[in-house]
Symmetry: C2
Subunit: 230 residues, 2 copies
């Protein structure tokens, strides 16, 4: 993982595995606009291509986006984002692991356990991101991010009110992802080591509970007591 630990990580192409889902499409839309080449990965190429057509048709879309099957997408990406339901997390990671060597894997997964999705229930590894790192071993560096944001907030150009907390083993990898967040027009904060991902993943259950109890669509969080550019 020598590359990841260097001060700057050059990312030109971002592959989004599970990119046909709402979250993936929202991230793709924003990163394309920021000038990144985005690859939408899916188990079925046709689905990836359909998602690409949809992204290209979004109001204000500009940039470059392509559809590939997951393994091709992983090979093409300088950095890989995984946005899939928790049930598919382990098998998908085991499938794509060979192509991830030396790359950053951004894990967006929240380990929700239906039907009690408002109750924090972590896997034995401690969190989905820690489980991903356990599966990856030394071959890729996992960074956790984007778990608290609602996809509705990504697919248009309005300002997003929810901040993004970024956890990962090294500061260099966290900073690479913080750069992508800024380029997507979002606000991110360095939330420390990967062990802290339990907080960020679990926060999603609390926010789902707040949505239900207070009758709102997409509650989020914002860090206070800091200086902000906005």
């Amino acid at each position: 993982m020598a590359d990841i630990n260097e001060q700057s990580v050059k990312i030109k192409t971002i592959a989004i595995i599970g990119g046909t889902g709402k979250e993936g499409r929202g991230l793709a839309y924003r990163w394309c606009k920021a000038g990144y080449k985005v690859i939408i990965g899916s188990r079925q190429l046709e689905k990836a291509i359909a998602a690409v057509d949809e992204i290209r048709g979004l109001h204000g879309f500009q940039g470059e986006v392509h559809g590939m099957d997951n393994l091709e997408a992983v090979a093409a990406g300088d950095l890989i984002v995984i946005t899939i339901p928790y049930a598919a997390h382990r098998p998908m990671l085991e499938t794509i692991k060979p192509g991830l060597s030396g790359k950053i894997l951004v894990d967006v997964t929240v380990p929700l356990v239906p039907p009690k999705v408002t109750k924090v229930q972590m896997p034995p590894a401690g969190s989905a991101a820690l489980e991903a790192q356990e599966i990856m071993g030394d071959s890729a560096q996992v960074v956790s991010a984007f778990q608290n944001i609602s996809y509705e907030n990504l697919l248009h150009e309005e300002k997003v009110e929810c901040d993004i907390l970024v956890c990962g083993k090294t500061k260099a990898a966290r900073e690479a992802v913080l750069g992508l967040i800024k380029d997507a027009g979002l606000v991110g904060w360095d939330a420390g080591p990967l062990e802290n991902s339990v907080v960020v993943e679990g926060l999603t259950s609390i926010l789902i509970g707040i949505n239900k109890q207070y009758g709102v669509q997409s509650s989020g969080i914002k860090i206070t007591g800091v200086s902000r550019q906005d």
Copy 2:
């Protein structure tokens, strides 16, 4: 715990164990002003009395506050708040348990493990609050709250920017504590079952890390996407 599960919990006297610390003094100041009778508990009566003198001397203080030793304080309180360092958590809870039967115990403890206080490290029970409930068994109902707020924000009358997330087994107990939060001039949100306290306690480590990295004194969090009275 029949009383706690009823719709309304009448609280007139609040006992703060470890109330001689900064956090306890800040809460006492605000609850006194709101008309609650507050008891500051300490292992040594003289220390409790010294803290009471200090609270009474704060700018704008009004209300009723008394110092007692911990066991007397627990007996006098309709609701008990515990604000002590994690190292003293288990022995203190075992000491005061006999007096807590049928009462709500508000646990403010964050299980920080020096020197790595910016890394989330939970006890085997899952969180300090879950550990407290394990110790209490059926004798008291634990509610977790106030872990993310800085004491500096409590000891004056300015608006506090950090929201408070409240976890606990029953909605009735959470609502009783949400009422106290509102009366203290703060904003609280129902964050669901006690299992979710891992998120709120762990968030403190993330906020300490943000303070260090971004050079601020007291970062906090605010829930977004909800309607607020302020």
